[in-house]
């Protein structure tokens, strides 16, 4: 008995010697700078010897696997070893995977903390070598993190496979039934169509808002862009000094959303449905409108060909400011990567190779990264993929792209937006209270 107690005390002592995490630190902070600069000085490629690229990607999105297969066939010496997980799992594993394993390329969650912790490779040397810095700067802006963890400027810590964009999808048949032959030009027109759908006994809007996924953030942010300036929302998401979500125009947007809730435009069980259920119901023709992104375009063209349409959230007045959430499908290279050159070569190839760009559009449904005048595959004009790509071009011309308000901090979505939006659906939170609470949580989270 005595020796058992002694053993336990020994273990306690062992655990209590130094602050956790202290001993690993120096090695990790020095890693990114050295490996990137030395390797980027010479010719960057996957070489000619056998290379296995370790990849950790999101399950349910076949675009990465398709691109990897095509890359393997063009570069026979390269093999991809792909591990897939759900996004939530990737989010919780990301720091440890990047710190402890030699993952070369990985789908990234909100990345400011990962970059500040020195877990991601600085890709700027590659950007210079491959000429990514010649592309429209808005494409890479979201993936830059400065030394204080603010996004929008600083070294490049990730690259996109493509960049996606969100807006309103509608069921063409049901839209005709309520007299909507072309997308609404103003928010008032959109409201009128919602009322017409409700009068017809249809479910005008459906949106996932159950569990830990507050999908009402999609229409809320779209309304914010109709009422206000998308660049102000961006500076809030990028944690710029003095940024505030609790503004007059955002309040008007939140009140408008609350008006939709109170008018009963949303399905009455949105607090209990998840993303997959929303999509299933939309495809079955149970709702007229949903808010989601162009990553569904390919899927909808297969599941309801010719019957899905897309438009951007209309402005207050015809011809006014158009905005949309738009974000690259971010992939990063670990600071510990064994093959950073090959990973970077792959990322460049995705944006420049014609076959790769075709895959990014047809499988991914979203616009490929790269120069504005780069190759684009031919598309059927009536497909929803063609509509979302056209809308994406419009938003880019208007400088209306915004990062998702859920990406402002690592926990703002799960801890603030989701519960507060669920509260608002249940009538337990006001639009004023929603923005106030989120802003105070935000300040607390970035203040640390």
């Amino acid at each position: 008995m005595r020796s058992a107690a002694l053993g336990a005390i020994g273990l306690l002592a062992l655990a209590a010697c130094s602050p956790p995490g202290g001993d690993e630190e120096p090695e990790e902070t020095s890693a990114p700078t050295t490996s990137a600069t030395t390797s980027a000085s010479g010719e960057i490629s996957c070489g000619t010897e056998e290379v296995t690229v370790e990849a950790y990607v999101e399950t349910g999105f076949p675009v990465f696997a398709e691109l990897a297969a095509e890359f393997e066939s063009q570069h026979p010496n390269v093999t991809f070893n792909i591990r897939e997980d759900q996004f939530a799992v990737i989010t919780q594993n990301a720091p440890r995977i990047l710190a402890d394993s030699e993952t070369d390329i990985m789908r990234l969650p909100q990345m400011s903390e990962l970059a500040s912790d020195g877990l991601l490779l600085d890709l700027d040397p590659y950007a210079e070598a491959f000429g990514w810095d010649q592309w429209p700067s808005s494409q890479l802006e979201q993936m830059r993190v400065d030394d204080e963890g603010r996004r929008g400027s600083g070294p490049l810590y990730a690259m996109g496979l493509n960049y996606s964009m969100t807006g309103v999808f509608y069921n063409v048949e049901l839209a005709e039934q309520i007299g909507m032959t072309e997308p609404p030009a103003t928010l008032d027109e959109f409201d009128a169509y919602l009322q017409a759908a409700a009068d017809e006994g249809l479910t005008p809007l459906n949106q996932f808002n159950g569990g830990a996924t507050g999908g009402l953030a999609f229409p809320l942010q779209a309304l914010m862009a109709s009422y206000g300036d998308p660049s102000e929302i961006n500076s809030w998401v990028y944690q710029q000094e003095g940024a505030n979500i609790d503004t007059e125009s955002n309040l008007a947007a939140a009140q408008h959303l609350n008006g939709w809730i109170e008018s009963g435009y949303f399905a009455d069980d949105i607090n209990a449905i998840d993303y997959a259920q929303m999509m299933a119901r939309f495809i079955e023709g149970d709702s007229v409108f949903i808010f989601t992104g162009d990553w569904e375009s390919g899927n909808l063209d297969t599941q309801m060909p010719g019957n899905a349409g897309f438009f951007l959230m209309p402005p207050l007045e015809e011809g006014g400011q158009l905005g949309a959430m738009s974000a690259p499908l971010t992939y990063g290279v670990s600071a510990n990567a064994a093959n950073p050159d090959c990973a970077a070569t792959f990322l460049d190839w995705v944006a420049t190779d014609e076959t790769a760009r075709t895959i990014a559009v047809e499988i991914g449904g979203s616009h490929p990264m790269g120069p504005a005048d780069a190759f684009m595959p031919e598309l059927d004009e009536s497909s929803v993929t063609a509509q979302t790509l056209a809308a994406g071009a419009t938003v880019a011309e208007n400088n209306g792209t915004m990062d998702f308000i859920a990406n402002a901090t690592g926990s703002i979505y799960a801890q603030s937006w989701t519960p507060q939006l669920q509260n608002m659906v249940a009538g337990q939170q006001t639009p004023e209270g929603l923005l106030e609470t989120v802003q105070s949580d935000y300040l607390e989270q970035i203040g640390e």
Partner: protein
């Protein structure tokens, strides 16, 4: 192994009570040598298990306590935070709320299934060895066999807007009451509780049945001769006999309520709002999403202490009952 060790311990220490003498001292020394000789193989046999216990239970436990005094994101160097994390536990309603929810869940996870378990066991015992008894026993115990995750998924389907529960309610004319049970602020916690009750009732029934089988049948006969009806028989004979099993059932189910995670993670993920947030889930979110390892550890320590505070008196209760 350790029992033989402790019996020699007792046997040798007893003679030391009277005053010391040379003879006694020699005897004691001999006993000490013997004890070491018999103790060593015992220790060796225990060593592997002890090592595993140390590495996988004691060390993490110690580390959790240590982390709870730091502010740490899991990667970079931690900074000493003193008792700040514990102070926040008591002052932040976001952290206090989950604990209150867990206490409320005790009603559903413990009280309801124990009551149902006792009643079901009493009825099944009455059925004797009939086929119906066997079937009811299997049906009631089945939820214990199903993984909690599967149970959670099944119940989310049953409780959905178009799920079986609402369909049945519509058929019997209760249209006005149908709702998305897991998505409604007023019903989410009770709905989660129903899932827990469904899972735990089988365990409680089985424990009670085991307790009831050891009751001497002559006691029932005597009660019946004294003119006791089935209810009197249940209250005066069955219930006192299963007191200990009742204690075990209450302790196990109370612990399952306080540390609940799986069912809630699958069915509501703490929502809507934070109406079904429990400490287990909050610890997970804090550690893996907010990356506040220190705060998560503090909550974990508090949860462990809470479980001990609730369970230790219960444990004492059953023990003193069996002594009297």
């Amino acid at each position: 192994m350790s029992t033989s060790w402790s019996t020699t311990d007792k046997a040798t220490s007893r003679p030391s009570a009277p005053g010391p003498s040379d003879d006694l001292r020699r005897k004691r020394r001999a006993a000490k040598v013997r004890r070491l000789r018999t103790g060593l193989p015992g220790l060796l046999l225990v060593a592997p298990a002890l090592a595993f216990y140390g590495v996988f239970v004691l060390r993490p436990l110690a580390a959790t306590v240590q982390y709870s005094f730091y502010e740490w994101n899991g990667i970079s160097t931690a900074t000493w935070a003193g008792v700040d994390n514990y102070v926040r536990l008591l002052t932040d309603p976001d952290l206090l709320g989950p604990i209150l929810n867990a206490l409320q869940l005790i009603i559903y996870f413990s009280f309801v299934p124990v009551v149902f378990g006792v009643i079901a066991a009493a009825i099944i015992r009455k059925m004797g060895a009939s086929r119906l008894a066997g079937i009811s026993r299997t049906v009631l115990f089945l939820p214990q066999v199903i993984p909690l995750v599967a149970a959670g998924i099944m119940w989310t389907w049953l409780l959905a807007t178009d799920g079986a529960v609402n369909q049945v309610m519509r058929v019997i004319g209760l249209d006005g009451l149908t709702r998305a049970w897991l998505g409604d602020f007023d019903t989410a916690l009770p709905a989660v509780g129903v899932i827990g009750a469904w899972v735990n009732v089988g365990l409680c029934m089985l424990l009670m049945l085991a307790g009831m089988t050891k009751v001497d049948p002559s006691l029932y006969e005597a009660a019946r001769l004294d003119g006791a009806g089935p209810i009197r028989e249940f209250v005066s004979v069955t219930l006192p006999a299963v007191r200990q099993e009742l204690g075990v059932a209450i302790i196990i189910t109370v612990i399952s309520a306080l540390r609940s995670f799986d069912i809630i993670f699958i069915s509501t993920q703490g929502g809507p709002g934070s109406s079904t947030m429990v400490p287990g889930l909050e610890i997970y979110y804090l550690a893996f999403f907010e990356r506040e390892i220190g705060q998560a550890s503090a909550l974990a320590v508090a949860l462990t202490v809470l479980v001990l505070i609730v369970v230790l008196p219960l444990n004492r209760l059953t023990r003193s009952d069996s002594d009297s």
